[in-house]
Symmetry: C2
Subunit: 119 residues, 2 copies
């Protein structure tokens, strides 16, 4: 990650909209010019550009202009950070569940050994 770290709040905020998630889905198949990217969306271009702005400021996508064509592409590293945070929460939660299962199994083993009839 070096000295680059997207702000997780702005990344999750960027993903909190179905249009913006659809844009991310489309760019997963490769970089695309804004006009081609916008075409499937029933939306005025200024509104669409606002969504691209939110995605770009969060670091989820980046764009470059060559002549009159602006091309957008995903920044996979940013999405990875958002995925890693969620994976870390799951790891914490699963570790806790594992400890609980081990505890209950121990309890059960002790109960059964105590329940055995003595001879």
């Amino acid at each position: 990650m070096a000295n680059y770290s997207a702000d997780l709040s702005s990344v999750y905020y960027a993903l909190a909209d179905p249009t913006r998630r659809a844009i991310v889905g489309a760019l997963g198949r490769g970089p695309e010019a804004v006009s081609a990217l916008a075409a499937p969306f029933a939306m005025a271009l200024p509104s669409f550009m606002k969504h691209l702005g939110v995605l770009e400021r969060s670091g989820v996508i980046r764009s470059r202009k060559e002549g009159r064509v602006r091309t957008c592409e995903l920044v996979p590293k940013t999405l990875s950070q958002a995925e890693r945070w969620l994976a870390a929460q799951r790891a914490t939660w699963e570790a806790r569940t594992d400890r609980m299962v081990a505890f209950v199994e121990d309890l059960h083993r002790n109960e059964s050994s105590r329940a055995k009839p003595r001879r």
Copy 2:
């Protein structure tokens, strides 16, 4: 997932705040009463309750009240959905990268076989 599916937009929106992410982190270690959960945060209780409300409405956490104590816990399934969406985007992107690498390798192989001196 059956007939339950949290709205991804509200889930990502819920995660787009450092306080709410810290609450998720704390609840990963187990259910907790609101008062204990709020203690480490330098924040008035009404503001804290608003954050809990956003998390609960998105399905990231749930709470129950027993007597005067409200206890919160994570809903791991909701976070898993958010993680899976990100993993799916990565899979799409990685499949594309793999195809590009294969394409470039093919190109390189063809170039080298053509560059061999003929006898």
